[in-house]
Amino acid sequence: MTETVSTREATMAPPRRRNRMSAQEARTALVFLLPSLLGFIAFMLFPIIASLAISFTNWQLISAPSFVGFANYQRLFTLDPAFYTVLGNTLFFTLEYLVLNIVLSLGLAVWISSLKRGQRWFRVIFFLPTFTPAIAASVVWLLIFTPGGFMDTVFQTLALHVPNLLLDPKLAMQAVIIVTLWANVGYNMVLFNAALDLVPQSYLEAAKIDGASAWDRFWKIRLPLISPTVFFGTVMTAITSLQVFDQIYVVTRGGPGSATATLGFAIYQNGFGNYQMGYASALAWVMFIIIMALTALQFWLQRKWVHYDS
């Protein structure tokens, strides 16, 4: 690294030499970014551009593709009877799941951090589901939800008339949400819990002396201090839940009817179930635009609630 000397000079240098410093800094940045950029271009950018190109073809994987212009996009918005249902399902899932996930993971994180002992065990327990292989989660929940399975039996024993979740078009999405929460709430829980752990104890003690209740301490001190982390968790959770696919594939396969068919599932079904890669790619790009817009909205909203201490 050769910039050490000049950086040192630059810190105290007159304005003219600042330019040199920033050129230096840009060079350092390039070196730092290079490995990441190379991998990014080869294994991300290129495949992404390829998928954009594929979305303008009728590629069916087993036959040579031909260019079809905007036909896939046109079909999606005007012809496909399922598209708007799928879009609605996706937004419904994302909204309910995102709220539940953040509330639950934040709640668990705070709850765990309030414990005197055994914190580490509780963290591991709530994190455990995140490393269940998809196929195993699939089988376990299938055995729980299937008609005549564990859940039906429990409700029967308690003489409760709860319809089977997987058979009721109105309730099937709730089954997907339960499984997704179980499988993924651990990520945000660990993330938030680690952030809470870093909130200086001195702040809290000071507030305690001032007579702030636990409730106030959470809303006025802890939450603002961990808000960058909560923001990160919210953005990532929104991005992944708009793409939700695994749990749908595993639990309902989009049924009954189209009650739980989401965009992520439709992309898989069209691409790998029906081998219509062109159409699946078009769906993926529409999904990308939606996610991009919602993420931009979140970044814009963060100014209102995310607290960067400067």
Binding site: L108, R120, I125, F131, A136, V139, L198, F245
Partner: protein, 295 residues
């Protein structure tokens, strides 16, 4: 966790004595209630193991039995022996470990550039990075396979590892964390003539161990359970990973429910160990007065 508890230590004893009994009671209640929630979370695992140790014919009995009529602990050994699970474990460990190691190095470097260095196009590049998280992985599988095939990497470790090692999730996570570290900590070092790399390695990274631990944990687990990419890039048993192995219990002739459950339970053990170990890092905390909210 209590590294910063000093300032108010003097004020404590009096208040503590006053409510000691009530506090203890609330404490026990608190632990007890969370234990109940935890048990509910653990139920699917109980169900997994309970179904792993019964006969295949009993798995779908109606109504389901909570415990097997006949405990078949040998199912674990059976599942293990039916397929080269030792090999699968090794492959999964190499792939998940390789991806994790590369991801940490690459992400830390990139995140530092995004968080601290000024260069033209910084924000656009960062947004492009973020954007890649919004494209579903399934769409990238085929173009990725074409690349890996061109490189002659089909059925190799590098073919399994490298395409997965450049997710921008890591750069995003670490950048957010680096932003919260006070600049003053490095300014002194800069004035002393330390290089940026040196600052990253000796100041930023030690302060960011919790975030790096998280990234390691998330990446490792994500790759340990990754299914689609190994499926596409691996031929046969030699390089097959655990999720592919579990899938082998679903055949033309039907599903071996109990073996899937047994295999899955076994495959989760390394992740469990890792989670326990990494806790030490993630929750070590930083002893400096820098809060998470700093910039």
């Amino acid at each position: 966790m209590t590294a910063n508890a000093l300032p108010t230590a003097a004020a404590r004893p009096r208040r503590k004595q006053k409510n000691a009994g009530l506090k203890l009671f609330l404490d026990i209640l608190n632990h007890g209630a969370l234990t109940l929630v935890a048990l509910a979370f653990l139920f699917p695992f109980f169900w997994m193991v309970s179904n792993a140790v019964r006969s295949d014919a009993e798995v779908l009995a109606v109504p389901p039995r909570l415990l097997p009529t006949e405990w078949q602990w040998e199912n674990f050994a059976e599942a293990w022996l039916r397929l080269p699970f030792g090999r699968f474990f090794l492959n999964s460990a190499i792939v998940a470990g390789g991806v994790t190691a590369i991801t940490i190095v690459v992400s830390a470097l990139a995140a530092y550039a995004f968080a601290r260095l000024r260069f033209p196009g910084r924000d656009s590049i960062f947004v492009a990075y973020l954007g890649t998280l919004m494209i579903p992985q399934v769409m990238l599988v085929i173009p990725l396979f074409l690349i890996v095939n061109q490189l002659g990497w089909v059925n190799t470790y590098q073919g399994m590892i490298l395409p997965m090692a450049f997710s921008s999730f890591g750069a995003f996570l670490l950048r957010q964390f680096f932003l919260s570290i006070p600049r003053e900590l490095e300014e002194a070092a800069l004035i002393d003539g330390a290089s940026r790399l040196r600052i990253l390695v000796s100041i930023i990274i030690p302060l960011s161990l919790p975030a790096i631990g998280l990234l390691a944990l998330f990446t490792f687990i994500g790759q340990w359970n990754n299914f689609l990419w190994p499926l596409v890039v691996v031929n046969g048993m030699e390089y097959a990973t655990l999720p592919l192995g579990l899938s082998m219990f679903q055949t033309e002739q039907g599903t071996s429910w109990n073996y899937i459950m047994a295999g899955a339970a076994l495959s989760m053990l390394p992740g469990l160990v890792l989670a326990v170990i990494l806790q030490q890092v993630i929750y070590k905390g930083i002893t400096v007065g820098a809060g998470f909210g700093g910039r």
